[in-house]
Symmetry: none
Subunit: 138 residues, 4 copies
């Protein structure tokens, strides 16, 4: 298993990964990270919040981007250098989130590529956007 | 449970959270996000990589920052607006990672604060750095 | 991170932690402890029981008390000596349970404190009560 | 699946369940209960504690007692009324813990039995002891 090298990658290349975020995803993520904020695991408090119910951790959604980068584009062997994230809308338990990445720049002399990274829900709403910089495998 | 409001927060306020990253953390995180990159879950392949063994997902480490923001500073009720992340060094299974956040700017008219966010390992090495922008609870 | 010493604690001090008990909490707890009693993980059998549906393990609810003692009051460094538990009402998947502890006695010469420990659901019903004895950190 | 009724149970009846406590048991239990006390999940801090390393939650060990009661003696259909627990020695990741229960009293008119409940480690050390009161299935 080896991902694409910088020579094999082109500006405009795209990949995605989509999954429905389950209650168990949110609860396990809370336990792994220690983020037991009531917004995520307390239905009673979350109902009286601005979001009117429990929401997934924004950083959990961001993990789906990491999955596309590490699994598909560029894929195995990629080294993750940086990521910018803007959290635009809440993700609820049961939402189906698609993470998409697109190559927007190649920096061949440094073996780096820049990608647009976005996540949308089942209604096409943008819930997260940002940019990633990675080193593709050699 | 309610976090600190912008009036209660001061530039220089700091909080942290520290945990030892277990193999089960990495495996569960892989399952939740779909990031089954061999670097994280394939010891045989990971040994022959630049990192000489399995490493935690960079975005898993970033989740510890989210935990400090949502649990401690500002705490419950905080809305996460954006996060920049630079992944500086690998985190291995068994490393003890401390995530620290520090308020560096208050934008009162927009109810926003900017925080430096860093993660270090048990040897004091910086493994991740970046900045977060959040809205404290009202 | 260090909890409160016996000198810092006062009779009447209180803390709590609240979460919604998810199906995944019950299933993971069943797997960890080996308590695969059909009351917890078999909807068909549980429906024909006195509880008319799957219920959480009483000892899982008790774990929320342990969380308050170890995380908040007295907090990190506390040594758990004993716990009495009376299971008063079933906890169902989806119930939001609040665990509360209150210092009721200080035994300074032995560095021990006694606490009332109760758990209530989202309707204010008492589901568990008991007492804990702990040694606060020195 | 139905457990033993009070008529089928005799004073002196015994059952047990034994398992090795894994790191993943402790980490998942921490996430489920919210008990992220550094004693359980922070190797660096735990090493400098009285226990010289991470220990399992006492209440996790207690869950093995619940497993014997609910699975074997009396078994499915049992209603757990109360439990006393004394935590006598730390349980470490990798310890093999045997939970044993023994009927010590029958209260037929109330359909209740009282059991001695103990947990020992692989060296035969008593780590937890107490008593349970349960209603066997009818």
């Amino acid at each position: 298993m080896k991902g694409l090298t910088i020579k094999e990658l082109k500006v405009g290349d795209k990949e995605d990964f989509e999954k429905t975020i389950s209650e168990s995803d949110v609860y396990l993520y809370a336990g792994i990270t220690g983020d037991l904020n009531p917004a995520h695991i307390n239905q009673r408090e979350a109902e009286s919040s601005i979001f009117k119910g429990r929401i997934a951790h924004g950083m959990l959604t961001a993990g789906l981007i990491s999955a596309v980068l590490g699994m598909k584009l560029p894929g195995p062997g990629t080294i993750y250098l940086s990521q910018e994230l803007k959290f635009l809308a809440p993700v609820r338990i049961g939402d189906t989130i698609k993470a998409e990445v697109e190559v927007i720049e190649k920096i061949e002399e440094k073996n780096r590529i820049v990608l647009n990274t976005i996540c949308t829900n089942q209604n096409g709403e943008l819930v997260l956007k940002g940019k990633a910089v990675v080193m593709p495998p050699k």
